[in-house]
Point group: C2
Chain length 110, copies 2
């Protein structure tokens, strides 16, 4: 009965960390807010709104896509980006649960 040493992290910890990492850069936050507000947006417009080069924005978009938060669809010469709604709902649920108002029963030690 000593303290059992966790060998691995929980699925929840890994998943939340993954989402948090996707949102851990102001540029990616800005992209997400843009898409959440605008419903959809072509890549060029996103580049125009950010103080970064086209290739750098493309890299950030790739990270958001890889985290599953964003989807892109060809629209002529352009690519139209939008929120991946089911995944976003999943993230909302997960974080909503994690960040819900907590009850501090007693004052903490510090």
């Amino acid at each position: 009965m000593g303290a059992s040493k966790l060998i691995n992290y929980t699925e929840e910890q890994i998943l939340v960390a993954k989402y948090a990492k996707a949102l851990s850069h102001p540029a990616r936050m800005a992209i997400m807010q843009l898409l959440l507000a605008k419903q959809s947006c072509i890549c060029g417009d996103i580049v125009d709104e950010l103080p970064l080069s086209q290739s750098t924005v493309s890299q950030h978009l790739k990270e958001l896509k890889e985290a599953g938060l964003v989807r892109g669809q060809i629209d002529g010469v352009s690519i139209c980006y939008c929120i991946n709604e089911p995944e976003w709902a999943k993230l909302t649920d997960l974080l909503g649960h994690f960040f819900e108002k907590r009850h501090v029963k007693t004052s903490s030690c510090c």
Copy 2:
């Protein structure tokens, strides 16, 4: 007139990104969950619960402290860690607002 190019990110984007970054590693998520569940915890016990060396855990704790999410207090030879409640409330509000259920008026483009 043409699209105005953002020179900087908003305060909200920078702040949320900062919090997200603090939570963007499974070890730091594990620490936060531990403290949220236990109210407080001495450093050694956190080390015991994680599959990492003492120095690495200390580094993660430092990052959480620097993000303002966690506070530590000397307790004899040990250090007692706990959630920084006011800051956590701030984060909860901010993220709660950001991750609140959104209304998708029309189907997205992709």
